[in-house]
Symmetry: C2
Subunit: 109 residues, 2 copies
Amino acid sequence: MRSNFQAIKDELQDNEAIELCALQCGTIGDTTKLKICYLLRHYPELNVTTIAEFVSTSVSNASHSLNKLRAARLVKSRRCGQTICYSLQKDAFANVMNIIGSGGYVSGM
Amino acid sequence: MRSNFQAIKDELQDNEAIELCALQCGTIGDTTKLKICYLLRHYPELNVTTIAEFVSTSVSNASHSLNKLRAARLVKSRRCGQTICYSLQKDAFANVMNIIGSGGYVSGM
DNA sequence: TGAAAGTTTGAACGCATATTCAAATGATAC
DNA sequence: GTATCATTTGAATATGCGTTCAAACTTTCA
């Protein structure tokens, strides 16, 4: 059980899980992208045009947003003939959950 | 059970829970603030100077960050004599959890 | 081949944000 | 009161981001 100052400071530095969590949270820190995730959480697969209509934005903006979501490993895509189907990654937010929990003090480090 | 297009589009618009979630995720989308939350998840209370040392930043920056975290209702503070003690809000991320879940398709809307 | 539907791309703009610095505030002890 | 420690505040800078627009690309179907 590590509990000295330097060990904790080190754990906070260059922590991949924290970096990824920040990237993913930052990505859904914008309502357009968050709405897309929320939508895909309840629809297994949707194409860009449909997503754009649901979240009331342009197709171009939806496409840009989906690109960022994919870069953050939150969304994946596959071609379905003429359209491209987007869906949530499995366990997309598992890492986020691990880092932030549900809030409140839990135990010593 | 609503399942038509317009109802879902409306649900996505002016949704307070989603707006709050975006605000809170955006706030911890920065490593400094996320580290502070991570730290406070494991320490019941810490003052600004200590937090700044842990996350390897200036006291001023830590103070600015804590202000944003408080504005996003993620952190609270109380005066302890000469210093000010910061702690995580109870159920700080409860709303975030509700919106994003852990990822993956769950059920129809 | 050519048209139409679906999607992506890159540039451009304006706006928000993180961080730093210096100065100001608040509390404590001598 | 004054010096010291802890913290906040505001301005300034630079960097990053969301959105829009027009143009390009891919697939399908006639």
